[in-house]
């Protein structure tokens, strides 16, 4: 593995070459990915779109080192990870990647702070430093005052922000989000997107699966999947989620929304 910061902006961080993924169930074979070529460069923000069952999650799982391609190669930050062991993949996940899920996937009955500490526990960061960094990450997502809240005591948007804090606490190069706004209302979705855009501005590479074209607008590149193959891949200038929030605030005479916009 290259040490962090070795690769500069513009260098490929994710390189999929002829990646296939075949699920076998008994004597049935399901080809979820049929040979995907995809290169994502450092600092990009990429939306993966496509109809249900087109293979978006399958590809995200491979990119996220949660799964391995059946054939083809996957180079992550310059290293071939397509043949690593489960244990080695776990280390890569912990050090290089951050995950945000549609269903938040926080540990229930565990405080926000402890949830955010979790990746650091497995990275071997010891007690006090771990708490310090987890606290800093929660402050970064605007939840500095909710450290001891449990997921059940937080709104959906707040839970997703805790999840984002957990994803970035290990300072990964790449943030992977599988429908992060799927369970959120439109206002909260835009807030979350603003937060993700800010992270991209700070240099993180973002890959995000979404069904909603509105959400894809906030990202600089859209990759469409169809039947396990890439059908479209185009770059454009993303719109600013901050600006969208300001617009929303102007339309609604809601002092609450403008206050939130103030320090987002």
């Amino acid at each position: 593995m290259n040490p962090k910061g070795d690769a500069q902006a513009g260098q490929p961080v994710i390189e999929l070459a002829q990646v296939t993924r075949v699920y076998t169930m008994g004597d049935m074979e399901l080809r979820a990915l049929k040979g995907v070529d995809l290169v994502i460069e450092r600092g990009e923000s990429v939306a993966i779109m496509g109809t249900s069952g087109s293979g978006k999650s399958t590809m995200m799982n491979i990119i996220g080192c949660l799964d391995r391609p059946t054939t083809g190669s996957y180079r992550l930050l310059g290293d071939d990870v397509s043949r690593l062991s489960r244990s080695e993949l776990a280390v890569v996940r912990g050090r290089r990647l951050g995950f945000v899920f549609q269903s938040f996937n926080l540990l229930s009955r565990t405080t926000a702070l402890e949830n955010v500490e979790l990746p650091l526990i497995y990275a071997g960061v010891s007690g006090r430093e771990r708490r310090r960094r987890a606290k800093a990450a929660l402050e970064r997502v605007g939840l500095g005052s909710r450290l001891d809240h449990r997921p059940s005591q937080l709104s959906g948007g707040q839970q997703q922000r805790v999840a984002i804090a957990r994803a970035i606490v290990g300072e990964p190069e790449i943030l992977l989000a599988d429908e992060p706004t799927g369970n959120l209302d439109s206002q909260t979705s835009v807030e979350v997107m603003a937060m993700l855009q800010e992270l991209v501005a700070q240099g993180i590479t973002l890959v995000l699966v979404t069904h909603e074209p509105d959400i894809a607008e906030y990202l600089g590149r859209v990759v469409a999947l169809k039947d396990g193959l890439i059908s479209r891949d185009g770059k454009h200038t993303p719109i600013s989620a901050q600006a969208a929030l300001a617009k929303l605030a102007a339309n609604a005479v809601d002092p609450h929304a403008s206050a939130r916009q103030g320090h987002a």
Partner: protein, 409 residues
């Protein structure tokens, strides 16, 4: 993940459902408690036996005539005439390691008082015997040298006999008849209890040896038709005393070198050891049976760990997604099983100690807490936790993170 972190995660998981944790631990608690109670009871029984033999005198030797093969057929042990009364005096005076030596002649006889009769063991012996048996009179007097010199027709009763003949009344000064000879009761001995073989020590009476020889069983002249009881000056001297007595008697009996002894020396310490070993075997057996319940407890732990792994599938997925390796989850669940069984072991230790104490009290045994057994039981409990926790832990570590993350719990 460090062991300490895993320990904290385990504690949190276990305190989440206290009732379930308690029920799971119960199996281990009972298993460990049973093992400890059994071992403690066994150790207590052994101590008890030791104590019983000690009241009999572990520093005691019993010498009996030993017939050679031909006479043995006719008479059996103790019936042949090879020991003499002179031998007793010689042992007492010439063997340095010997403190007391007494001839003991015994027969069963009917003993009659005015109100009742009782069949008991009549022993003729010198005062030394009651001294070396550490058997003082509780009321009245014991036998003394004067009675011996004057062949006095006096008797000292064991407690059972005193009770059978006189009940609550005082026997002192009363007259009893043994083989038609009237004897004056001068004392009642203290209670001695039961022999390890169940025989009642207190069902006996003592009369002076000289009186016994003239009134009860005359006959053999210088030869002693009974046993010689010898006590060594200290328990440590028993072996030396045995050697000295053997050498002395062989010399006095002019036994040719290489020829067999015409007497037999028995060492009560050896008896005690044999007896203790038997008890030890039984104890081990009981503990082994108790250990089975420990295994059953272990299966309980495995069961609940399996449930726990299933219930926490999503948690496992989340942990894997953020960088937990399979080994981290293996350790986490193993530690959890270990904590479960460890708590069970400690609680079992407490319960076992209480049970052992109560058992000892109920059975009138000496209460002994077997420290090594306790440590062993805790060790075994932890071992059980690891062994039975291993399968669920492996299951957890082998989960596919994608599948785990998708599980609804």
């Amino acid at each position: 993940m460090s062991f300490f972190a895993a320990f904290r995660v385990a504690l949190r998981a276990l305190t989440r459902n206290l009732t379930r944790t308690f029920l799971t631990v119960l199996g281990i608690v009972i298993g460990v408690a049973a093992v400890i109670a059994m071992m403690a009871a066994g150790a207590g029984a052994r101590e008890q036996i030791k104590a019983v033999f000690e009241t009999m005198g572990t520093n005691m030797l019993v010498i009996r005539p030993q017939s050679d093969a031909t006479t043995a057929v006719r008479g059996g042990e103790g019936s042949a005439a090879s020991l003499t009364f002179a031998d007793v005096d010689a042992i007492r005076t010439e063997c340095a390691a010997v403190q007391y030596a007494a001839a003991v002649l015994q027969t069963r006889a009917q003993i009659g008082a005015e109100e009742a009769n009782w069949n008991t063991q009549v022993t003729g012996t010198t005062p030394d015997f009651l001294t070396l048996r550490q058997w003082p009179a509780e009321i009245g007097k014991s036998l003394n040298e004067e009675h011996e010199q004057s062949s006095a027709k006096v008797v000292v009763l064991g407690q059972t006999v005193a009770w059978q003949l006189f009940g609550d009344g005082s026997p002192i000064g009363r007259v009893v008849r043994i083989k038609n000879t009237p004897f004056e009761v001068i004392g009642v001995l203290s209670k001695k209890g039961q022999a390890p073989n169940g025989q009642d020590y207190d069902d006996t009476v003592f009369i002076p040896l000289a009186t016994y020889r003239t009134k009860i069983e005359g006959g053999l002249g210088d030869f002693l038709r009974g046993s010689i009881y010898v006590s060594a000056s200290t328990p440590e001297q028993v072996m030396r005393a045995e050697g000295q007595v053997t050498a002395l008697l062989r010399e006095r009996h002019r036994t040719a070198p290489g020829a067999e002894d015409d007497f037999r020396v028995r060492n009560l310490a050896e008896f005690a050891t044999a007896r203790e070993q038997t008890t030890g075997t039984i104890t081990t057996l009981l503990a082994a049976i108790a250990a089975v319940s420990l295994v059953v407890g272990g299966i309980g732990v495995m069961n609940i760990m399996m449930v726990s792994v299933v219930e926490r599938t999503r948690e496992i997925g989340i942990r894997m997604a953020v960088g937990a390796r399979p080994i981290d989850l293996l350790v986490q669940f193993l530690v959890e099983a270990l904590v479960l069984s460890g708590i069970g072991g400690l609680l079992g230790l407490g319960l076992g100690a209480i049970a052992a104490d109560q058992l000892a009290k109920a059975l009138g045994w000496i209460s002994v807490f077997p420290t090594e057994t306790a440590l062993m039981a805790i060790g075994v409990a932890s071992g059980v936790g690891i062994v039975f926790g291993l399968y669920p832990a492996i299951k957890a570590s082998r989960l596919d993170p994608i599948v785990a993350l998708r599980t609804e719990t």
